[in-house]
């Protein structure tokens, strides 16, 4: 099956998280192809599934800065997204796609795509177990995975030109020092340049040529359902 490079684009974090999970559920049911999606959220704090909002987020600072608070289905800490950050989601069935099947091997394998991207942009980086990429000891990218039966969602962030001032204001429990690619390269990189570099790098490690495509009908339906019953609701997000 050909890999799809998803062209779907909104900046709505709740809708995007609903879409990501809809693709994962659809992939499990063989209703959509293996997919790479590179996407962005407007200003938002994205909490891990079990994050305690009180200890991780300065809610008042979020309100002051127009930062939405949403919760993802995977675990981990709280992260800050804005249009200076790229998210990438790879959704596949590892066994049929010839991808490692074990947790740590997947992190190591997928980190190669991000390291390749950074290398092509002129940034030296290193992988730090289990799931971080560092530039000069500072975090530039983090990875997470979530398994839904036999289907895998491997997703990560890549800081291109994030507003770090707001990030430090809204996250009260930031564990790592962070750095933007733009600062590391000392040049202005557009989001599209980095998006293209990421797609090229994933294409290389997957040994595939992507076919651009949008969501299929059942993914739209599932995304709408997940948005309605989960991601748009305060009892999930807060």
């Amino acid at each position: 099956m050909k890999w799809r490079l998803l062209t779907h684009a909104t900046y709505d974090p709740k809708l995007n998280l609903a879409t990501e999970e809809a693709i994962l559920r659809s992939r499990h049911e063989n209703l959509c192809p293996d997919t790479l999606w590179i996407w962005q959220n407007r200003r938002s704090v994205v909490l891990g599934r079990f994050c305690d909002i009180k200890s991780e987020v300065n809610v008042e600072a979020c309100m002051r800065n127009g930062v939405e608070i949403v919760r993802r289905t995977s675990g981990g800490g709280a992260v800050y997204h804005d249009l200076g950050n790229l998210n990438f989601s790879m959704i596949t069935k590892p066994q049929s796609a010839g991808i490692p099947n074990s947790v740590l091997a997947i992190y190591k394998w997928s980190s190669e795509a991000v390291l390749g991207t950074l290398q092509n942009l002129g940034v030296g980086a290193e992988f730090k177990k289990p799931n971080s990429l560092l530039v000069n000891g500072k975090k530039v990218s983090g990875l997470a995975q979530y398994w839904f039966y036999d289907a895998l969602l491997l997703h990560g962030t890549l800081m291109v030109d994030v507003d770090v001032r707001i990030m430090y204001e809204v996250l009260s429990n930031l564990k790592n020092e962070v750095v933007n690619i733009s600062l590391a390269t000392h040049k202005h990189l557009t989001i599209d340049e980095v998006r293209q570099a990421l797609a090229t790098s994933f294409s290389k490690i997957l040994g595939t040529k992507f076919q651009s495509g949008n969501l299929v009908h059942n993914e739209f339906v599932k995304a709408k359902e997940l948005y309605d019953v989960k991601y748009s609701r305060d009892d999930w997000n807060l």
């Binding site: 599934r49 289905t73 995977s74 074990s102 995975q145 979530y146 036999d150 999930w236």
Partner: protein, 106 residues
């Protein structure tokens, strides 16, 4: 005698397969009410009122984000698929007879 703790971690909202797994577990434990305690985890997790803390196995399953997962006395026995009823029953009655799930953490 302390009860065997069987935790089931399913997607939120649960799918029909997730509900099927919960049904299988309820069936497998129907005659073991006095020996087994079943906890179903979905949602974003508030601890059920009668559960004091999250078990080691459940922490592990959520850290790896494996759904579904079946955890017996803190050890993840099944994940990413629905086990056969006989295997499930075996893991509940004699946890040491079923190996823990290996997802490649080493």
């Amino acid at each position: 005698m302390e009860k065997t703790l069987v935790e089931v971690y399913v997607a939120y909202p649960p799918t029909s397969k997730c509900r099927e797994l919960v049904r299988l577990i309820n069936e497998a434990t129907a005659d073991l009410q006095d020996r087994v305690k079943v906890v179903v985890w979905s949602g974003k997790t508030a601890l059920p009122p009668d559960v004091k803390e999250i078990s080691r196995g459940f922490k592990w399953a959520i850290k790896l984000h494996i759904t579904p997962a079946v955890i017996v006395n803190g050890d993840v026995k099944f994940g990413r698929s629905i086990p056969q009823p006989s295997e499930l029953r075996k893991a509940i009655l004699d946890p040491s007879s079923v190996p823990n799930l290996d997802v490649g953490l080493e």
